[in-house]
Symmetry: C2
Subunit: 468 residues, 2 copies
């Protein structure tokens, strides 16, 4: 596409080097590293990679680029699944990896202030050492950055009980295109002071400003958890069983669904032993409960187990040792990578009201038949968030590029009809933007575009994302 | 002030009557009813009160008023504490009381869709009858509307464990000034699809659109609760004790603070018997725990009680009967009315990180001495939200209008210095807008004003609110 932006020239590089003497990169290795993320097989090569580590540097870069009409794409760890960190108009990738400090753990107030380039799991472990808990745990928690999590409003298995990233962000320091640095709110648990800029920034995918500090609320660490793996002979019935747990009054700390192939491929991928997958099993639920009262937990998991046995299930696996639990969680977390290693694929991030899951799964398979694609479904069934991995397999390139998008469009329309929407936790980014018209009409889209313009009048911030 | 808006004339009334034949009011009684809310002794008389009960009617009214430059102030039950529902430029009050239907209780999905004019407590009881729980419970829950709660992002005692209104709103149907009707999101528990318009509308105080439907998430009803009333000989120590509970790993379902006068005045106001207030007691904490495991609750409340006894406390009152609990909660809920019945007053809605409460209380009293005002403090200590009721008593009008605002300004500056902000749950509305510059600088304010302009280019929606 013809770029509406200025190409970077030697004078721009001179300026960047004046701000960041040792952290301006134009070598092939760095450009290529920042050319892709975990989304399909996309590749967009930036012109330069900048690695600032102070707010002042970010401010100077933004002001300069805004004045020169140079596009800036912020980048976290590159684990995104919607292409949000890709510089589709080239220009600058603002690589935030050096913003990697946990600035303050305020144990008295159950708050942590962190820079965006901290790995989520490291942040979790850091606060846990002080008896505190930051629950959101995307599958990529071992490598993703907290800043990317905030930008995409990530979820993960524990969202079903503890909520998603947005439920933990109290305040954000960000740099606007003109170089101004603002805080979006205050470090408080409740706030009725002006518009909620904080929640506007969470999930805005780097299109409104550059996040430089994040204040998160924390909760007391939870002492115990127990895990069940429940095999079902019918995948649709597994989805139906999800809701029975909630209707009985239980809120598990995780409630994950995996179709047979998801588990099977993951088992191969991680070379799992010690788990069997009988031929008649079509899907699994992975159910975790947590709390501080161990007896209560055992009673709860027994009740949940009894509810499950009202369905056509195989032998339920109960895990209470650390090793067993790790093994099962690892299988679940690796499904995405396993599918990726198997075939070219597209991952859709559908989300519906929880009770509509069985209907959603039925529709996915029906549309798959109609449009000739195979899908492997898994995800956070407890919040109605089903990842649909469409595998290319032996589909022709023509069908993959031409026919499949029509099938996805049909699927998303059904999702919206069920009260759901097109992304639960991955964001719209690049790969879902052509479907945004299904979720939002022109009035809503126009409001969002105008909000974008308020923050970024010249449109230099992560251009080409979210909006069709 | 000279109004930038058109006065309503007979042709406007003809139009309004064509839309709402029986619900256009210009009689003194209706105009006066809508001229005030629960904020101090303010009085702003509108020109006309309209009571639509369909989205189509709201749309027609908005489109007309927007075209004619007539200001529209939406009104719920008029229980607000920041003057948000007052028509400061006169014009139309859009009285939403006929939007009083609970449209759908989706028990399968733990969701309820309601119109905004439903009384919050009635909504709570309606969902509770089906075993579901909508936690946010402002003190005015018996008379306030859920729409007003959403507009102000209300809190209440249970916010400390369950969060505020924003944590329960999934989706909002609203009418924009040009008459367009939009939904802000989807009926899902997680959503990473475009900007979070839903959270932008929650707490926007009727300045961005007219809320016509609200989808709330619900949680399973909780079976048991227990209550403690803990008297302290030092009010600052009571504030310090709050944090000790959290540091020990407990999250009460309510943790309320009342200064001696707050409780005393409320006792007189409700003519409470069966509770004594020894002379050496300076403050109380009201502590509730809830859950489904009764034994665990008794164990928790005993532990909390033991933590409290490390401070200089009086005799702790333990309430487990329905009557006792009702009596104590009634005392707490009536504090606001009791103070109001005692004297002209101003209520500030300060909020700080929880552990800063003792310092906040100390500062309030110090500034009170300096500026010559007496204050009665109470509120939701568990989330650091302290209501500061400044009683006029025998303060001169000159000091009340001239000196006091300087004292409040100093207080708010201290609040912000402590990491807090100027409103936790009441909103900015009319009475706090002159202090907004303390919470936000010109860049932040400008962003908010421009967002306002995106939604309401002609500025007809609830003008004169939030922004100085």
């Amino acid at each position: 596409m013809p770029s509406p932006f200025k190409k970077i020239d030697s004078s721009d590089l001179v300026f960047f080097k004046s701000v960041l003497p040792d952290h301006v990169f134009t070598n092939e290795e760095q450009l290529q590293r920042c050319a892709s993320d975990q989304t399909e097989d996309l590749n967009y090569v930036p012109e330069v990679v900048l690695q600032p580590d102070t707010v002042t540097e970010v401010s100077a870069i933004m002001k300069y680029c805004n004045g020169k009409n140079i596009p800036v794409t912020p980048r976290g760890a590159g684990t995104g699944l919607s292409g949000g960190a890709l510089a589709v108009y080239s220009g600058v990738v603002l690589d935030m990896r050096r913003f990697n400090k946990i600035l303050k753990l305020d144990k008295r107030n159950f708050q942590v202030t962190t820079e965006p380039g901290v790995i989520t799991q490291e942040l979790q472990e850091h606060v846990l050492a002080e008896g505190l808990f930051y629950p959101p745990d995307p599958a990529s928690k071992g490598s993703c950055f907290i800043g990317g999590n905030v930008a995409e409003n990530s979820g993960g298995p524990r969202a079903v009980k503890y909520g998603v990233v947005k439920d933990y962000v109290l305040n954000i320091e960000m740099v606007l295109p003109y170089g101004n640095v603002i805080w979006t709110g205050a470090n408080v648990l409740k706030n009725a002071t002006g518009y909620n800029l904080t929640q506007l920034i969470v999930g805005s995918e780097g299109t409104l400003g550059i996040i430089t500090k994040i204040v998160l609320r924390l909760i007391p660490a939870v002492k115990h958890d127990l895990l069940l793996l429940v095999p079902f002979r019918s995948a649709v019935e597994a989805c139906a069983a999800v809701n029975a747990i909630f209707l009985a009054g239980y809120i598990p700390s995780a409630l994950e669904f995996m179709e047979r192939d998801a588990l099977l491929w993951s088992m191969h991928y991680v070379q799992a032993t010690g788990i069997s997958l009988p031929e008649d099993i079509q899907a699994h639920l992975l159910i975790e409960v947590d709390g501080n009262n161990k007896e209560q937990l055992y009673a709860d998991i027994e009740s949940i187990s009894a509810i499950m046995q009202q369905y056509d299930t195989g032998e339920i696996l109960f895990a209470d040792s650390h090793e067993q639990k790790q093994m099962l969680w690892n299988l679940r977390r690796k499904v995405g990578e396993a599918v990726k290693s198997n075939s070219i694929y597209k991952e859709e991030d559908t989300v519906v009201p929880r009770a509509e899951l069985p209907e959603l799964l039925r529709i996915i398979k029906e549309i798959g038949k109609e449009y000739g694609f195979r899908s492997v479904c898994y995800g956070h069934a407890g919040d109605g968030n089903l990842h649909v991995n469409i595998v290319k397999g032996d589909m022709s390139d023509e069908d993959w590029n031409g026919k499949l998008p029509l099938g996805i469009r049909k699927l998303f329309k059904e999702v919206v009809r069920l009260g759901g929407t097109i992304s639960g936790e991955h964001g719209i980014g690049l790969v879902q933007k052509e479907y945004m018209d299904i979720a939002f009409d022109t009035v809503q889209t126009q409001l969002m575009k105008q909000i974008k313009q308020v923050f970024d009048p010249n449109g230099i911030l992560n251009p080409g994302k979210i909006f069709p």
